[in-house]
């Protein structure tokens, strides 16, 4: 038993040499034919994945930006339409008001001019009436006072008399 126990630990130069050589060969062969291609492929794949993820993220950000832009544009155009509509409405309101005012002014103007005309007509009528009355009165007085008074004195007397009369 003890002797066999020793055999577990006994040195074995041949085994060391064999394992040393073959393990080194395995290491070199695998490095050349296995680990090289495998690790290269893994690194390549990782970089591809990383690149595509970055790309996807970028695309997502772009899409989000685009969507935000779209929303913003829509809002803006909506607001714009609203503003235009409101403007148009206000304009229409203003125009209508203006029109009404103008019409009213016109009517007023017409009224005023009509009134002035009437006044003028009335004044000229009064004037001509006064002239007529004066003439009539003079003629009448001439007839009455034809003998003792010359025409100029009589005319002055009548005029004085007429001025004393109330205007209307």
């Amino acid at each position: 038993m003890i002797l066999f126990a020793a055999s577990l630990l006994s040195p074995d130069a041949g085994l060391i040499v064999w394992i040393g050589i073959t393990f080194l060969a395995l290491l070199l062969l695998l490095r050349r034919f296995a680990w090289g291609p495998i690790t290269t492929a893994l690194t390549e794949r990782e970089s591809t994945i990383a690149a595509s993820m970055e790309q996807a993220e970028k695309a997502l950000a772009e899409a989000k930006q685009l969507q935000a832009d779209n929303t913003k544009a829509r809002r803006e155009s909506e607001a714009q339409a609203q503003a235009i509509l409101r403007g148009a409405r206000e304009e229409a309101e203003r125009l209508r008001g203006e029109e009404v005012d103008k019409t009213r002014d016109q009517i007023k103007h017409l009224q005023e001019s009509a009134q002035a005309e009437i006044e003028r007509e009335k004044q000229s009528a009064l004037d001509s009436l006064r002239q007529e009355v004066a003439d009539l009165a003079v003629k009448a007085a001439e007839k009455i006072l034809h003998e003792n008074l010359d025409a100029d004195r009589q005319k002055k007397l009548v005029n004085d008399f007429l001025s004393d009369l109330p205007k209307n």
Binding site: L3, S7, D12, A13, L15, I16, W18, A34
Partner: protein
């Protein structure tokens, strides 16, 4: 209920299978766990027999010339008369039937006269006895063996392990070369399984320790990891042997780590060993041999850890199985059968544990290798203030050593 019944059934079947296999061993003598774990120059397929492995010797003849001796098996080496077996005497079992002090050994054929039993035993392994098969071969006369390059059981299984690793990994590399796993996702159990392990070694073992020098040392770490793992698992296969339970194998593996560590060592690394900065002058000569010793203890610990772990599990399993025969010998066959289910249940548990340990030890060896190499190749960028901080622990250790 059904589960419990099937467990008992399994145990019963295992008992039935294991018992006859070991009856042979028991008849040959005690079931010897150490013997089973030790190296030998045959593959053990008992109860079906043993397959002897080629023997290769470099010998130095009497006249000082060197020669290479090649034999297909131990039996042919002995029967051709070129070698004789020095038989180790254990107990009173063998009566030094073929051997005396000078190493003059009788030819195997001459033993046949010593009785039927011996005739049978002697002829059993291609014409030689088990003692001869396991004996130490020496050339008769004045010649002596310079180096025994024979293919031993552990070497054979180490080679099988290497072959398995090589075939698996070149196939895997082929898949990546075709673009599977490079341009597309990895496909299938095979590729996913090994890719996970490779990524584990790269990302969790190599990269944290080696940083940007990972690519340089990754091939070694991967090779060591998969070789150790495969060898560990081959020891759990029926009729298999664990190459990593041989100290010679683990010493070679640790030597690779040792050589890579020293070759990669930076100026800082050597500086820290031969003239550690940041400690009082009088401590430096004391610390230097400690540091030099530290270079050697790391790989030695690496080799012994793997060897001991892989040997221990097998010894426990074999001891548990051996318990059956011990009970049978002491208390009669009934006790042997009675204790068998318990023994086998425990052996099964240890077997599962060994499966776990196979992975853990492959991981630990690779991890520590990466750590040691990483410590040696690390570039220190510290000024003197930092140096004091760094070596506070060293100084403490030194003061402990001094006191």
């Amino acid at each position: 209920m059904i589960q419990r019944a099937s467990t008992f059934l399994l145990l019963a079947v295992l008992t039935a299978v294991v018992l006859p296999a070991n009856v042979q061993a028991a008849e040959d003598g005690e079931l010897d766990a150490l013997h089973h774990s030790a190296n030998a120059y045959y593959l053990d397929f008992e109860p079906f027999g043993k397959v002897q492995l080629p023997r290769i010797f470099v010998i130095q003849h009497e006249d000082g010339s060197y020669g290479l001796e090649l034999f297909g098996s131990t039996a042919s080496a002995i029967l051709n008369g070129h070698f004789v077996a020095e038989i180790e005497e254990h107990g009173d079992e063998t009566d030094s039937e073929t051997h005396d002090a000078e190493g003059a050994v009788l030819e195997a054929t001459e033993e046949h006269a010593e009785g039927d039993e011996h005739v049978q035993a002697a002829g059993k392994y291609g014409g030689i006895s088990l003692e001869q098969l396991e004996g130490h071969l020496v050339p008769p006369g004045g010649a002596h063996v310079v180096i025994d390059m024979s293919i031993s059981r552990h070497l054979f299984f180490a080679w099988i392990g290497m072959l398995v690793v090589f075939v698996i990994m070149t196939r895997l590399a082929g898949m990546y070369k075709r673009g599977v796993g490079r341009d597309t996702a990895p496909k299938g159990l095979f590729q996913n399984l090994f890719e996970t392990l490779i990524m584990f070694v790269r990302d969790d073992i190599a990269r944290p320790n080696l940083g940007d020098k990972t690519d340089k040392y990754l091939p070694y770490l991967l090779t060591a990891f998969f070789f150790i793992l495969t060898c560990n698992l081959l020891g759990l296969v029926p009729f298999g042997a664990t190459a990593t339970s041989n100290l010679m194998v683990t010493v070679v593996l640790a030597s690779f780590t040792f050589i890579l560590t020293q070759m990669g060592g930076t100026k800082d690394y050597w500086m820290h060993i031969f003239w550690p900065p940041g400690i009082p002058m009088f401590v430096k000569p004391i610390l230097m041999p400690v540091e030099v010793l530290g270079i050697l203890t790391k790989p030695i610990a690496l080799a012994i850890r793997l060897f001991a772990n892989m040997t221990a599990g097998h010894l426990v399993i074999l001891s548990l199985i051996g318990l059956i025969f011990s009970f049978a010998n002491i208390f009669g066959p009934g006790a042997g059968y009675g204790v068998a289910p318990v023994s086998i249940a425990f052996a099964l548990f240890i077997y599962m544990l060994e499966l776990l340990v196979s992975f853990i030890q492959a991981y630990v060896f690779t991890m520590l290798s990466a750590l040691f190499i990483g410590m040696a190749i690390e570039e220190h960028h510290h000024d003197h203030d930092e140096a004091h901080g760094d070596h506070a622990a060293d100084t403490n250790a030194a003061s402990v050593l001094v006191s």
